[in-house]
């Protein structure tokens, strides 16, 4: 049986099965995941992590597919982490983002992985973040993380991606939607996709205005850019790639690169801790909870008692 080290070695040699398996290990076994990451932390990271966020219907996947085509031509190795929501009730997931990227499925320099947001209430999962480490280690130099722009996820994206693209499209209900909930604060590049549609000019002006209105000078040295694209017809893709590279240059020169790596690793630690704790908590509630606990303690102390029990169990059994 191949251990983590052997799997990583195979993956480094181009064995996609091994890489696929490593990613599954990150999803399913916290302990083994820890082993894997310990190895990957050895290498100096040098992948460019690009976060692509935006509401469903904005054409993110088609846009990413076009980016992949461009990056392939420029001889990059590209990994895509497509994050899809999990059904809260059944815990099952129907992952379809790769449909629009399937033309690249057989390309040796491309690897696409779908990740459900298993049980994580908004926000990225541990495995989604850890996968970035593994892709970097194995030699993918462009790692694209696609997710739905919803609340917590946006904050997390800021911590893991060097360059953040926020994708929107004309006329999706009110243009106000695009300005809601702080989404205008996280992007490095704002992409107005499907700009072949009616109302594109209007939405563009609106976004321009919105960007100017925010005091975004706070972002060190980089003023967020706005660009029009139509992934369907291939407009604006070259310019978008150039913009992304421009931003990447800024990231490298300003020291932001390493800062983000640090934040990403801290986030990974936090998410793993949460994951371990949450699974123990759930197990506890499913099996061992004392039904009379609220008679013995008040609510606050009941919680403390519960946590103590879990921690003791963790210490005893090592998780």
């Amino acid at each position: 049986m191949e251990g983590s080290r052997e799997l990583l070695r195979s993956a480094l040699n181009g064995d996609k099965r091994a890489l696929g398996r490593l990613l599954t290990i990150l999803e399913s076994s916290p302990k083994k995941a820890g082993e894997v990451i310990t190895y990957t932390l050895d290498k100096e990271p040098d992948a460019h992590v690009i976060g692509v966020t935006g509401i469903p219907g904005s054409g993110k996947s088609t846009l990413i597919s076009k980016l992949i085509t461009q990056y392939k031509e420029d001889n990059h190795k590209i990994a895509v982490i497509a994050i899809d929501p999990t059904s809260p009730l059944s815990r099952g997931a129907l992952l379809g983002d790769r449909i629009r990227m399937q033309e690249h499925a057989t390309d040796p320099s491309v690897f696409i992985r779908s990740v459900p947001t298993r049980g994580v209430k908004g926000g990225l999962s541990f495995s989604g973040v850890a996968m970035i480490e593994v892709f970097d280690y194995v030699g993918y130099d462009k790692v694209i993380v696609e997710s739905i722009g919803v609340g917590q996820t946006d904050i997390d994206i800021m911590n893991i991606a060097h360059t953040i693209l926020v994708v929107t499209t004309p006329g999706l209900g009110d243009d106000i939607q695009a300005l809601k909930a702080g989404i205008m604060e996280i992007g490095d590049i704002y992409v107005l996709n499907k700009s072949d549609k009616e109302g594109a000019e209007k939405t563009y002006s609106y976004l321009e205005f919105a960007l100017e209105s925010y005091e975004l000078g706070v972002k060190r040295g980089w003023t967020p850019k706005l660009i029009k694209t139509s992934a369907l017809f291939g407009w604006g893709i070259d310019q978008l790639v150039d913009l992304i590279e421009e931003h990447y240059k800024y990231v490298l020169e300003s020291g932001l690169y390493n800062e983000k790596i640090g934040r990403r690793r801290m986030l990974m630690l936090k998410l793993l801790s949460e994951k371990i704790f949450m699974s123990l908590l759930e197990e506890y509630f499913n099996k061992g909870i004392d039904r009379d606990i609220l008679r013995k303690y008040d609510l606050y102390n009941a919680s403390i008692h519960l946590i103590r029990e879990i921690v003791e169990k963790l210490i005893k059994y090592g998780g």
């Binding site: 219907g57 379809g96 983002d97 449909i99 629009r100 033309e103 009616e198 369907l232 017809f233 291939g234």
Partner: protein
């Protein structure tokens, strides 16, 4: 406007119903509790215990029904309907190689058929040549393989194209196949005004249901409109489009959705044509429709009647059509393939019969009845013949064709017609608010509706809320021998090999620089937004292949990958 039922009569009935519910009904209910809590049609319309004139109390006869051949055409588009002429019995046929098809067509013509119907194989349907890597294994399977004008010439070799009409079930490559058909007829010296037939040419439903799409929605519609415009101007006998609900229904839509989405597609096409400067009365008479006939008998009849009424209204009030012919909803119907089962296949004969009867009582202009072995093979001659005889018995023995719209006036059928119509209007309003069908399709709205409906249906069947004989009731264990049959009786590999050979020969014998030139001209025309038909005709005559022409257009228009919807 006078109502059909006078107020006092209705009042008397309503009071009678109250009394009946008090006195007569409870006895019946206690002896025989009703079988289900809710009785619903396949569109989830709840069906009441009994219908009376009280359900139609606001009806005015001339407004809602009228007389056959007159607005709103609810009762039929012709005054005499089947008393004058029985519906066309058009049986779909599709066959492996062009040579096989030629033989088959000649056989049918000998036996009196003048209405031919061509089915194409999958590579042709999606616009790729028989030697394309993705065509492997699929050449000649579901229909005839056509990659170039040469194939079309072989199909019609020795057949006088001026004396037959040909229905071509083809969508994105419709302009190319039409060009090939016209070029072949030209070679036979058949004048343009004698070239008759239909191209299905309905791109919007491809995105919703059949999914043999190639280009994205907008260019797909543009190309289809080119075909219609060119036909209207050049081929007086050609029906350039068959706006289809059949595939939408087969993909899982309910009757209401089928009706609504089909009409919404029609509305979109009419708008596009008007925007090109065509006069509505010029092209509207050439539009035709294609519906499914499913197993819930009365709902289907209601759907057909509602369809006519809705389309007439839309053409008259929305688009100002003046000629009655512009307001006609002419349609072809096919019985529901999706209602047939692989289990106990002989039961399918009964299903098809009932569905055919519904289509006839619904006033269809032409009808295709499915064969009993449809679920598991390309129909055998034996089964296809029974399917044809089904129509003949209905037409000539039962008397249902002897009067127009016999079910008119049935309290239930009229109520159901109104109900189906109203629900369909709600969908159409929604689509209008989105900006029309092209936009709705781009957003995935109809696709989502259909996916939800088909999942619900499957769950209903599995959880015993919907019955299918042989599948979840009256199930039998042994497999009937009839199912133990191969899919086809053709040698697929041989057909593929020959088609590939033919293409190689063609490419070496033709004037390749002329082909290249014609493809370049085509691309330029596409970029300049011109009508593509003349350029496609040119390319086809130079023996550019289907794949080459479609690829040229793909370069300009791009290709479509559907949004993830489940």
């Amino acid at each position: 406007m006078p109502k059909i039922f006078n107020k006092d009569a209705v009042k008397e009935i309503e009071e009678g119903i109250k009394r009946w519910e008090r006195e007569t009904l409870p006895k019946s209910l206690s002896r025989y509790p009703e079988r289900l809590d809710r009785f619903t049609t396949l569109s989830d319309i709840e069906v009441k215990r009994v219908y009376t004139p009280a359900d139609l109390k606001d009806h005015n006869y001339m407004e809602k029904l009228g007389l056959p051949g007159e607005y709103p055409f609810t009762r039929g588009i012709h005054a005499t309907m089947y008393r004058g002429r029985i519906w066309t019995m058009r049986m779909f046929s599709g066959y492996g190689s062009p040579e096989d098809t030629n033989k088959r067509l000649k056989f049918l013509i000998e036996h009196g058929e003048t209405g031919l119907s061509l089915a194409f194989d999958y590579p042709t349907l999606v616009g790729i040549d028989a030697d394309d890597p993705m065509a492997g294994g699929e050449v000649g399977v579901c229909g005839v393989s056509v990659s170039s004008l040469r194939d079309m010439e072989i199909i019609f070799d020795g057949i006088d194209m001026g004396s037959v009409t040909t229905n071509m079930t083809i969508n994105p490559p419709a302009p190319v196949l039409l060009a090939m058909y016209v070029a072949t007829a030209e070679k036979q010296s058949v004048p343009y005004d004698k070239i008759g037939g239909t191209t299905q040419n309905d791109p919007l439903k491809e995105f919703i249901a059949q999914k043999s799409y190639v280009f994205p929605p907008e260019p797909s519609v543009k190309v289809a409109m080119d075909v219609i415009e060119w036909s209207v101007k050049n081929l007086p006998k050609w029906n350039p489009i068959s706006i289809s609900g059949y595939h939408i229904r087969e993909a899982g839509a309910t009757a209401v959705q089928e009706l609504a989405f089909t009409i919404a597609d029609g509305i979109e096409y009419v708008r596009h044509l008007i925007n090109r400067g065509l006069d509505v009365d010029e092209f509207a008479p050439r539009l035709s429709f294609f519906f499914d006939s499913h197993i819930n008998f009365f709902e289907e009849i209601a759907k057909f009647r509602a369809a006519r009424r809705m389309w007439a209204y839309i053409m008259k009030e929305w688009f100002n059509a003046k000629k009655p012919r512009s307001m006609w909803m002419r349609f072809h119907t096919q019985t529901a393939g999706v209602s047939l089962t692989a289990q106990q296949p002989f039961n399918n004969i009964i299903r098809t019969t009932i569905e055919a009867l519904a289509a006839v009582l619904g006033g269809t202009q032409s009808l295709h009845t499915n064969s009993l072995d449809e679920p598991f093979r390309v129909p055998s001659e034996f089964a296809a013949k029974i399917a044809l005889r089904t129509q003949q018995i209905i037409a000539y023995e039962t008397g249902v064709a002897d009067t127009v719209d016999p079910l008119a006036g049935s309290y239930y059928v009229e109520w159901l017609t109104d109900e189906v119509e109203e629900r369909a209007w709600r969908y159409i309003d929604r689509i209008e608010r989105m900006g029309g069908m092209t936009e709705a399709v781009r957003r995935g709205y109809p696709q989502r509706e259909i996916t939800d409906a088909s999942y619900k249906f499957q769950r209903d069947v599995e959880e015993g809320r919907r019955y299918i004989v042989g599948v979840n009731i009256f199930v039998e264990e042994e497999e009937e021998e009839i199912r133990n049959v191969p899919l086809l009786d053709i040698n697929q590999e041989e057909i593929e090999r020959r088609q590939v050979e033919r293409l190689k020969k063609l490419r070496s014998e033709r004037d390749n620089s002329a082909v290249e030139y014609s493809l370049r001209e085509l691309k330029n025309a596409a970029r300049r937004d011109e009508n593509l038909m003349p350029y496609i005709l040119e390319a086809v005559k130079k023996y550019a292949t289907l794949g080459e022409i479609m690829n040229a257009l793909k370069e300009v228009y791009g290709i479509w990958v559907e949004p993830p919807i489940y």
